[in-house]
Amino acid sequence: MELYQVSVFVENKSGRLADITEVLSKNNINLRALSIADTTDFGILRLIVDNPKATELILAENGFTATLTKVIGVRVPDTPGGLSVVLRLLSDGNVGLEYMYAFIGKEDERASVILRVDNDEKAEQILSFNGIDLISGDAFNE
């Protein structure tokens, strides 16, 4: 199953982030990973949750602009320079990386990384061909 990130527009106004996380907790959405990109005027909150489609709808109902973005999740090889291996494979394959963020997996405490690339299909092919452990969307469902 494909892995989707929920991207949310965050107005540059105090309390907006808290508003979003409150809506999520009220609706029993579990946050698995998050990152925020911000500029002087606005921010984009990027979330990995157990149910992306439902989260997108709940946020829209509560007046937020949210969208689903296909991303790639990898468990970083448990060796020195494990992340570099992943990034090198992508760059050698001419796959552009737009952004990434890391989190610690729940079960095995291994470092995992969410990657946003310009060519999902190609990236997945390269990574799985080279034995990198990809995270399926199901992994976040309870």
């Binding site: 107005e11 907006r16 602009t65 969208t67 737009e98 946003r116």
Partner: protein, 431 residues
């Protein structure tokens, strides 16, 4: 179809004759009953007998909004209070409100103007007219109400507010004509969409919108969202209210009910009358009003006139849709900017929400203008770069239309207030 074919298709010569007779009577009336007019005419050395035809209109002095304020509340009334049957008022954004009065004959004339307007856009006594203008001191509600009643249509006097209920009424009552402000029509279109009703399920076919400036792009949005054809109605309480002029179904300008209100276009700086086709300030002279016959009233609206016969067959003079008020005009670093220009820029960019708010300020003696624009789902993406490109595109489009650099700030959806009356789209912190 005409409500009053004789008047609406009258030959120019005959109209001029009718106007001249009525103008002479009105000048006599104000000279004899209104101290301000007597003093002002005397000052200009004008006696009623000097006014022989409409050609002499240009020699009469202007009336300004401040004259109504200075004589508040009834100082310009030309009829005794026992003949007055209605009083309306417009809220002044600065200081006193403006009070206007009507005799029963004034109300009848006004109703006929609205009835003519309804017929000229294709309405008839078979229509169900849904009036969502505010009822009360504002002329919108009762004006459309009385006009639709005169036509013999079924009037639904909903007034403004309670939007969810309005949508149910559209559906259950089968409203065919909607009358309200264009910003409220946008709001209603949004409410229809949210309720999950398709515009095809509604019987709405005609919209008559006025009381604030709006753009062609807004017209498209309203027409799509409500499944109707949207027409302009124009008016101001000082002259009578909505119905002073209105589109016909050809939608090529607004036919002025010139047997009651003579329009002129003047240069707002020199006061000189401008020829057909030239833009300037719209000025009206009431020639049948009894309670408040204003002479050469400066509307502050920018428009132009044409006397060409319309394809609909009407011979009455047409005015162009007002493209802003001289009052609304913002002067930013010496450049004239109308909020409606900002709106049309936004509506022309695919996927950008038409709701906006302008903040004007002065920083280090330099005027700044910032436009808040709502982030819409189609404009949003997970990429900062992509959003910044959109932001830059909006800035660029505003710059090329307004000729000044404007700041753009993206804000959350529905954070800009949807007005139920005249939209408040500008905050000027320089004052």
């Amino acid at each position: 179809m005409y409500y009053n074919k004789k008047i609406e298709t009258m030959a120019r010569e005959d109209m001029k004759k009718l106007q001249s007779e009525r103008l002479k009577k009105t000048v006599e009336r104000v000279y004899n009953n209104v101290p301000l007019y007597r003093e002002r005419f005397d000052e200009y050395g004008i006696k009623p007998e000097h006014i022989k035809s409409v050609d002499d209109l240009k020699n009469l002095p202007f009336t300004y909004k401040t004259d109504l304020r200075d004589t508040y509340p009834y100082g310009l009334f030309a009829a005794p209070m026992e003949e007055v049957t209605r009083i309306h008022a417009s809220s002044g954004t600065t200081g006193k409100q403006t009070v206007v009065g009507y005799t029963q004959n004034d109300i009848d004339v006004w109703s006929e103007c609205v009835a003519r307007s309804l017929v000229s856009v294709g309405g008839s006594n078979k229509d169900i007219v849904h009036v969502s203008y505010g009822y009360g001191l504002f002329t919108g509600g009762l004006g459309l109400h009385d006009g639709a009643t005169k036509l013999g249509a079924a009037v639904v006097p909903v007034s403004s507010g309670n939007t969810a209920r309005q949508v149910n009424i559209f559906k259950d009552f089968g409203s065919t004509i909607l009358c309200c402000t264009p910003s409220y029509a946008m709001y209603l279109a949004e409410a229809v969409k949210e309720s999950g009703i398709s515009p095809d399920e509604l019987k709405l076919r005609i919209g008559i919108f006025g009381a604030e400036p709006w753009t062609e792009e807004m017209r498209d949005e309203i027409e799509k969202g409500l499944g109707l054809k949207a027409y302009d109605i124009y008016g101001l309480s000082e002259i009578c209210g909505p119905g002073v002029s209105c589109n016909c179904y050809m939608q090529n300008g607004l036919h002025v009910q010139e047997d009651h209100f003579i329009p002129e276009i003047i240069d707002p700086d020199t006061g000189e009358v401008l020829p057909d086709g030239e833009s300037g300030e719209l000025v009206f002279t009431c020639i049948t009003k009894e309670a408040l016959p204003l002479i050469r009233y400066r509307t502050r609206d920018i428009s132009s006139l044409t006397h060409e016969v319309c394809e609909c067959g009407r011979t009455t003079v047409r005015m162009s849709k007002p493209c802003g008020r001289t009052d609304d005009m913002l002067i930013i670093r010496g450049v004239n900017v109308f909020p409606s220009q900002v709106e049309s820029v936004l509506l022309n960019i695919e996927g950008v929400s038409p709701h906006y708010h302008i903040t004007v300020d002065r920083v280090n003696n330099l005027d700044t203008m910032d436009v808040e624009v709502e982030m819409s789902p189609s404009m949003f993406s997970d990429s900062v770069k992509h959003i910044q490109e959109k932001e830059k595109m909006i800035k660029q489009a505003l710059l090329s239309t307004l000729n000044i650099a404007v700041g753009v700030k993206l804000v959350g959806p529905k954070t800009i207030s949807r007005s139920e009356g005249k939209a408040k789209r500008v905050t000027d912190n320089r004052k």
